[in-house]
Amino acid sequence: MKNLVLIGFWIMMLLWLNSCAGTYKHIEVEYPPLSPYAKYKAISLEVVSPKDVNKEEMKSFKELIIRAFQKRGISVVDDIERPKLVVEIMELSKESVIKRGIKWALAIYIGGPWIQNTSNAVTVKVSMKDKGKVIEFKEFQEFKESIRDWEDFKKTVANRIADAVYFAY
């Protein structure tokens, strides 16, 4: 009987913790038209990744980057004369169902904030090759993004990449 009460208590705690977590309301930012004096109006894009990165995920990430540029009025073109943005993917991994299952099991059996952490990871190095010069956007190493919602995670990093170019002079 005592064990049943104990189990009931833990389930209640977990449900309570889980129900507390909401979904972040992602607001699409409507950027003003690109200034006629902006540095980059059209760029070419190269996405480089290690072999073990999921090809589908990489494709969807690249599409998100292109869409983020379009929203800011910057065209992505296939032209070697244009400045080339190189996005080097260091890590692009979604938390697996197995990992999530293990976290839930640990939270139920020994307790602790296992499910309040995520191992989703998107780490990139971004640089621009323009007229023989390489400009590195060091801000992508400055702080580590971590988002529970995988699609939102990819979109946020894609938006940050497009922002870095939009605001570059």
Partner: protein, 226 residues
């Protein structure tokens, strides 16, 4: 005994959750010095100009200065002030909307910055073609002083952008209950950005004031131009 162990465990988890709370430092946003705004509003551009091209370029510089000040003072500052007030009260309702608004206005400010930068470049070109030495020298001084001011402006715009990305990260992790974002490195970075933004706003005010004083001196010289 088991009961005590259980209570101990729950308390430990609660302490763990509390200790994860980041120690973020926020500063009140700085408005543009009201003297700068007032002087810009009351700026009466001289009707005497050494050339038509120079006159158009100088007018463009003053108009773009006014526009850049208005975008920050009337659009950005009220949003940042509201965000700061909310942080102080730990009222995070609607913070996602405020961050999105601040991002849009910051992009608008970046566009007005570019127009201002271009206006100074055009003034520099027009200045090369005039003959009056006193006006030429004063204009060169204005361009050099303003160069520092607009560099500081660009620094501020980019610091605001990074600050908003981090503020959004913390807001999202709070709503998602995601402890993975709450690292010591991120906390340190947030506090560094907030501090450099605070310093940058102060520096921008001083440089803008100096640039405006030189503009007024140049305008006086232009008024006496025959």
């Amino acid at each position: 005994m088991k009961k005590f162990a259980l209570i101990g465990l729950v308390v430990a988890i609660m302490f763990l959750a509390i200790s994860c709370a980041p120690n973020l430092v926020s500063y009140p946003p700085a408005a543009i010095n009201p003297v700068v705004v007032k002087r810009l509003q009351n700026f009466k551009i001289s009707s005497q100009m050494p050339s038509e091209e120079y006159g158009a370029a100088f007018k463009n510089v003053i108009e773009n200065n006014k526009n850049t000040a208005v975008v920050y003072q009337e659009k950005s500052f009220p949003i940042f002030n509201q965000m700061y007030q909310k942080y102080q009260k730990k009222d995070f309702d609607g913070m996602d909307v405020l961050i999105a608004k601040a991002k849009i206005v910051n992009a608008e400010w970046a566009n007005s910055y570019l127009a201002l930068k271009n206006a100074y470049e055009k003034l520099g070109e027009a200045n090369k073609k005039i003959g009056n030495v006193a006006i030429k020298t004063k204009t060169e001084q204005l361009i050099n002083v303003s160069k520092e001011c607009i560099e500081e402006m660009l620094e501020t715009i980019n610091t605001i952008r990074k600050f908003l990305d981090m503020a959004e990260g913390y807001n999202r992790s709070r709503i998602e209950k995601n402890l993975s974002f709450l690292t010591k490195e991120n906390e340190q970075k947030y506090n560094n950005i907030a501090e450099s933004l605070h310093r940058s706003e102060d520096g921008l005010n001083k440089k803008w004031m100096y640039s405006l004083e030189i503009s007024i001196e140049l305008n006086k010289l232009l008024n006496n131009y025959r």
